[in-house]
């Protein structure tokens, strides 16, 4: 089984973060054209988490994501062309236009269909991990979720079951502080999410979500423990969403969160920090590669046909 690289690969992380950023910015740029005819939840500002976490995974490891899933999909090795075609609602999209932005899926890289119902894939991830355990598989499951998911009762039911059955799974809680425009402190009483998780006997830690390297370190350690037979683990990573909850705009003028928070997050943006650790040539080469691949993906999407009506009833039943 292909394990993740044994040490942090700056260039790979930079490449992934650049690809994610460039993709999200391109979506924002062309959104007014209405070519992407669906809601988009962009990950600008949160790229370091996906890049750091997914480079610590093996190809056989399985990722469950959510509607804010572009970053996870790209970092897990999803196909950029078919993702863009999917965003365009084209037949050459990975789900023939049935999924769109919120339900990215690519079983070839073990990326499960993302869900747009908050917290709902968490129990599915636990069930998948249970199945792998029953099968004696070496693969492990990683479940990305927002801090808002922990508002839901089913989230804690799922953690309880995972802990009860000692199921090897890693929960990565991406805490960007807000669920839409609602602050975490306005929704949650009591202890923090990792502290609550630990009361189930789940080892829960924190990592710096602004650094792919830090996330990579925490996730590699967790994956090694899971492969050694550890039960469920959680890592909460702090992060900041630069753009609006949904759609392409900057929502700071709306006033629910201060501009200074955005500036603070931008000041520790991982992309320039990674670039600073690399040769200028490598940076230039990767930037060019990312631009080429993005252009190719757009061209692929543009060239694709829309599905014909016969696709409507396809795969309604298995």
């Amino acid at each position: 089984m292909a394990m993740g690289t044994s040490s942090f690969d700056v260039k790979r992380a930079y490449y992934l973060e650049r690809t994610i950023r460039a993709t999200e910015e391109k979506i924002a740029e062309i959104y007014f054209t209405d070519k992407v005819k669906s809601p988009v939840h962009l990950s600008v500002g949160q790229e370091a988490i996906a890049a750091g976490a997914c480079t610590a995974l093996g190809g056989d490891d399985v990722v469950f994501s959510n509607y804010r899933g572009h970053a996870h999909y790209i970092a897990k090795g999803g196909d950029l062309n078919s993702m863009w075609a999917e965003l365009y609602g084209k037949a050459n999209g990975h789900a023939g236009g049935k999924a769109g932005s919120m339900h990215l899926v690519d079983t070839k890289v073990n990326f499960m269909p993302a869900s747009a119902i908050v917290a709902s894939a968490v129990s599915n991830a636990v069930g998948y991990a249970l199945a792998l355990k029953m099968r004696g598989s070496d693969a492990r499951v990683v479940c990305f979720h927002g801090e808002g998911a922990a508002d839901e009762g089913v989230f804690w039911e799922s953690l309880n079951f995972a802990a009860l059955k000692d199921i090897p799974i890693l929960f990565i809680c991406e805490n960007n502080g807000y669920a839409i425009y609602s602050k975490q402190q306005d929704r949650m009483a009591g202890k923090s999410i990792p502290e609550r998780a630990s009361t189930f006997g789940i080892t829960a830690s924190r990592a710096d979500g602004f650094s792919a390297q830090a996330v990579y370190g925490a996730v590699s350690k967790a994956m090694a423990a899971l492969r050694e037979g550890a039960g469920p683990l959680m890592i909460e990573v702090n992060t900041y969403r630069w753009l609006d909850h949904v759609g392409p705009d900057d929502d700071h003028p709306g006033g629910y969160r201060p501009q200074s928070d955005l500036e603070a997050a931008q000041a520790i943006d991982d992309i320039p920090r990674l670039a600073a650790q690399m040769d200028a040539d490598d940076v230039a080469r990767i930037d060019a590669q990312v631009a080429d691949e993005l252009a190719a993906a757009l061209a692929f999407a543009e060239a694709g046909d829309f599905p014909d009506e016969t696709a409507l009833g396809r795969n309604d039943y298995a």
Binding site: V62, H94, A95, G96, K98, A99, H103, V105, D106, T107, M112, P113, S115, I117, S120, A121, V122, S123, N124, A125, V126, G127, Y128, A129, L130, A131, L132, M134, R135, G153, V154, E157, S158, N160, F161, L164, R314, N315, D316, Y317, A318
Partner: protein, 348 residues
């Protein structure tokens, strides 16, 4: 092998699970109480002793997460059978069922599938009241992606459960509490019934009575009462609610010219409503006099006298049929035995 072995409905379900678990190690059972001393009316009794505690296990009282766990395991290629003591409890997991189980295959355009069975028991017995008696099958009939099966006979309980387990879609499998003790001929070897097919249980030429799960029993008894009046009823066990085999029903109704559909739930948006709509849309031009019945449009009362008014029964079905045939409801005999109902004493 002679095909005349008699088994109860509960034992038929047990045999189906037993055989499928032996044949396929991806089949496992999870649900509240499945490994306890009662084993869901005997249907899951001691399966963990045979196949290990990880293939027939009790779960926390967390229906949404457990449904989600079953879905996740199915995504990974397992064939979970998730057992619920009452269908009312499915209301707690509608999100997982409707938004996840029924969507994964379609929204991934076939990249993943969810081969799982959700078993749920329904129905009156005595005093189950408004929260322990509901048969919520129309909710699931409404949503593309599910198969919905409600077997009445022990034969179909076994063949239906095996077919449900082997099917690659989420199957809602409905079992009426008063049917578990019913006995009938059940072949010993594993077999599947065809999903999506209704079953004609009694041939007749004057009127078609269609039942769902336990109301099939009402229809059969009503047919007996009608026979005393010289009315020859055909009785159809709908068996599969999704897909709905309206073809078999319409063919029979067009032959007899009269149709009564007896839902095992409220009539609004029920199987009867759908069948009558399809009858209306039918292009054959054959005229059929049709009616539907079901629970009274209230919550289910607990006390027996009101329960009797709430549920359809052999007499009310026969009366409806008689009136449709132009006979007098007052002429319908009211002497009918329902031992399973009279003998039921709970406590569950």
């Amino acid at each position: 092998m002679p095909n005349d072995r008699i088994l109860s409905y509960g034992d038929a379900l047990h045999e189906a699970l037993h055989q499928e678990m032996a044949l396929d190690d991806s089949v496992f059972v999870l649900g509240q109480g499945v490994d306890d001393l009662k084993g869901q009316y005997g249907s899951t009794l001691d399966l963990h002793k045979e196949y290990g505690p990880d293939r027939n296990f009790d779960v926390p009282i967390a229906e949404e997460a457990i449904t989600g766990v079953a879905i996740g395991a199915a995504l990974a290629g397992m064939r979970p059978v998730n057992v619920h003591q009452r269908m009312d409890f499915l209301m707690v997991c509608m999100n997982q069922l409707v938004n996840m189980a029924a969507k994964y295959h379609y929204m991934s355009d076939g990249q993943v599938r969810v081969p799982m069975v959700v078993r749920a028991s329904i129905g009156r017995s005595w005093g189950q009241g408004p929260q322990h008696s509901q048969a919520a099958y129309p909710f699931f009939m409404h949503v593309p992606g599910f198969r919905v099966l409600a077997p009445t006979t022990p034969h179909d309980a076994k063949g239906g459960l095996i077919a449900a387990i082997r099917d690659n879609n989420p199957v809602i499998f409905i079992e009426h509490r008063l049917l578990y003790a019913n006995t009938g001929v059940v072949p010993e070897d594993p077999f599947e019934i065809e999903l999506g097919k209704a079953r004609i249980l009694r041939k007749g030429k004057d009127i078609t009575l269609v039942g769902v799960s336990y109301t099939v029993t009402d229809c059969l008894r009503a047919a007996g009462l009608l026979a005393l009046m010289g009315i020859d009823a055909e009785v159809i066990d709908l068996l599969s609610l999704a897909p709905l085999d309206s073809e078999t029903v319409l063919k029979s109704a067009q032959k007899t010219g009269h149709l009564v559909v007896v839902d095992n739930t409220w009539t609004l948006c029920g199987a009867g409503a759908e069948i009558l709509a399809r009858l209306q849309e039918d292009a054959s031009g054959i005229k059929v006099k049709a009616a539907r019945m079901g629970y009274a449009p209230t919550a289910c009362p607990t006390t027996r006298c009101l329960e009797d008014a709430y549920y359809p029964g052999p007499v009310s079905v026969a009366q409806k049929a008689a009136v449709l045939m132009g006979a007098d409801a007052g002429d319908v005999p009211t002497d009918v035995e329902r031992t399973e109902l009279e003998e039921f004493k709970g406590p569950f």
